[in-house]
Point group: D3
Chain length 150, copies 6
Amino acid sequence: MEERTETPIGKHAMYLALFGPEEADSSFLQNLTRSGCRFCTGKVGAMEMHKIVAAIETAAKKHGVIQSGIYRETHSLYHAIMEGLHGVTRGQLQLGSVLRTVGLNFAVVRGQPYPRDNEGEWIAVALYGTIGAPVKGLEHEVLGLGINHI
Amino acid sequence: MEERTETPIGKHAMYLALFGPEEADSSFLQNLTRSGCRFCTGKVGAMEMHKIVAAIETAAKKHGVIQSGIYRETHSLYHAIMEGLHGVTRGQLQLGSVLRTVGLNFAVVRGQPYPRDNEGEWIAVALYGTIGAPVKGLEHEVLGLGINHI
Amino acid sequence: MEERTETPIGKHAMYLALFGPEEADSSFLQNLTRSGCRFCTGKVGAMEMHKIVAAIETAAKKHGVIQSGIYRETHSLYHAIMEGLHGVTRGQLQLGSVLRTVGLNFAVVRGQPYPRDNEGEWIAVALYGTIGAPVKGLEHEVLGLGINHI
Amino acid sequence: MEERTETPIGKHAMYLALFGPEEADSSFLQNLTRSGCRFCTGKVGAMEMHKIVAAIETAAKKHGVIQSGIYRETHSLYHAIMEGLHGVTRGQLQLGSVLRTVGLNFAVVRGQPYPRDNEGEWIAVALYGTIGAPVKGLEHEVLGLGINHI
Amino acid sequence: MEERTETPIGKHAMYLALFGPEEADSSFLQNLTRSGCRFCTGKVGAMEMHKIVAAIETAAKKHGVIQSGIYRETHSLYHAIMEGLHGVTRGQLQLGSVLRTVGLNFAVVRGQPYPRDNEGEWIAVALYGTIGAPVKGLEHEVLGLGINHI
Amino acid sequence: MEERTETPIGKHAMYLALFGPEEADSSFLQNLTRSGCRFCTGKVGAMEMHKIVAAIETAAKKHGVIQSGIYRETHSLYHAIMEGLHGVTRGQLQLGSVLRTVGLNFAVVRGQPYPRDNEGEWIAVALYGTIGAPVKGLEHEVLGLGINHI
């Protein structure tokens, strides 16, 4: 019996958020699927954090990355999103209220990162894009990652 | 006169932190140098945040990414490191004091991300690795990115 | 001369918030009054923190737990509420802005917790209820307590 | 087939932390066991947060509330402890570093709070005690609660 | 060749915010100009943080303290404002959302605080005024200072 | 009967911290005493926050600004110090743990800021100095103010 190898779902999610499924290596996506991961990607621009949360949750449910009827899955994803947003906001979970806006690519990857079966499934949320004043060009890159057991 | 293209120093730094200079595409490193960026990479494991700060500052000075005699360069790098650590710690800049430890790859990239000359140089600090209990295996992935003008 | 015994106003406030004056032991309420405490209870559901603050302040003034014309009493209560909300929000004082809502029972107890007279009066604000997505059922319990001299 | 009723594991954990298993109603403990919950209680005094984390993790493993060989259980408990400590510290997860110390009773309760089976098990960590200067008597009450899916 | 003396731009900015250009010593303003500093002052009252950010940025651009077409100058000022607001809000960058409002005098000073030329220019943002409930009189003093290289 | 005028204890405390009792206007100190304020000043350099707290508390007790035997006075001062340190640290109450150190002048002023007698006494803690790397010269100015009812 072959033991499962480790699957760095955070690294995979960040790679997807940085490059998008279009630019990503074709073998990368095949391997991701072969290792049993479910994933989705998307884009969201907002001055309000709750729109980012909603966009990611909606995408994850629509693509079957989480089950929409089960609260524990939503709870797990919610905390992973919040943790990713800490990387994006770096200190205070605020955007428009402190006069800044973001444009983000996101990727959600769900899989079994650990070789042992009883560690079960985990979920990773990666965010990459720009943050800045609500004026085009006055912005720089940001990113974040949240990981949780599910 | 050719205008400089945009250089996503944050994306480049994160890519280096995720894959290391060894795994990175050979053309990636050539392009990074060709676009005028200076960079360095390294590893640090610690339960104390100040050791991470010191390791990155030392590497950046040793490889000429920042000038050691100039406070404004250290100040700029310091804040970029702090911002990257917000992504790693997701809420409270603490490690051993809340019984967790990290093992991180880091990359520092300095360059001109904007086409216009008067935007000058900026610095990006990317961190990727694991966080967890001070027991091998009880850990998951983390990452963070900080960017500042220099 | 009999010395006053210690009165754990925080424990009393939390007990009231957990069980409400209806479910509370009848002797509990008698003892609370006998020990010289003033108190009030109430309920508030909101996606905006300022509504919770306003609901508690209004109840405390209406029931004579604080005097409405004196700023130092409002100041003391305000900080006790903020501290209680830290327990509820666990990291960032935000609700709707990060797509979550709360339904809370609150209790405010004012009394003399310490045996020595010169320690004067203190105020405790306890909160107990649920936090979650703005969808019925997608929620779990939360609570918090703030204490301040008044 | 009878549907399970809701089990407020947070309220149960807080009740245990406030009163201890000795003072608690005898029927309370019977009902807690009957509803399928596993739980433990303990005490810890410390100026360092990592000692509190360690004390609770050790107690929870020793009493079989979580399985010590499984990272996802430790991860779940760890975040519940951190959330409980937010209520205790109200703003910054720090004790001795800002010259304060705590003496806490804790309770950990694991059970199924939701009627539907697929919501699975959750864990609650409740903390109640005092915080103050490292001088006897210069202290007031604090408490906190963290809840997580497990 | 005379070396430049140190110029405490933070102290100067705070002095201006505390007393305003009207009350300030006449020699103070002359010395500030003579030491090569550019500065501006203003007032802003708000329940929303983004209005404070906008008021200070607008004043600094209008009075030539920063150049409006250059992102790195806006970026530097933005972070200095955020740091000043940490002093004002003391824990959470929030005003109206937690039912409080501010009335602030601000001062922005740009100059060379260090004797060595290669340390270049830095910017200081000082804030002084009152914070409180949105009711006249229910308020106390607050202040903050942010400093950044520019 | 003459009504008391407003006494901006925060402004007075900041002025003392910025200039020290030596540089302060002689009439300033006379007026401070005449308006019924008690105050003290001091200096502290540290990489550990608890040393700053201890230095200020010790000075305030030694100079009779607060009464050492009464917890409510220590509690009030403690929170004012913490609030002042938020201005100094701007985001995370940490110094040496994130590789930075401070050298601070402090001033504590206790008095009646409001004209109405029933608003009673309040306390202001002002801090001014430098923060930076633990290397001489690699530092910039910081300040903070905390105010509380006492």
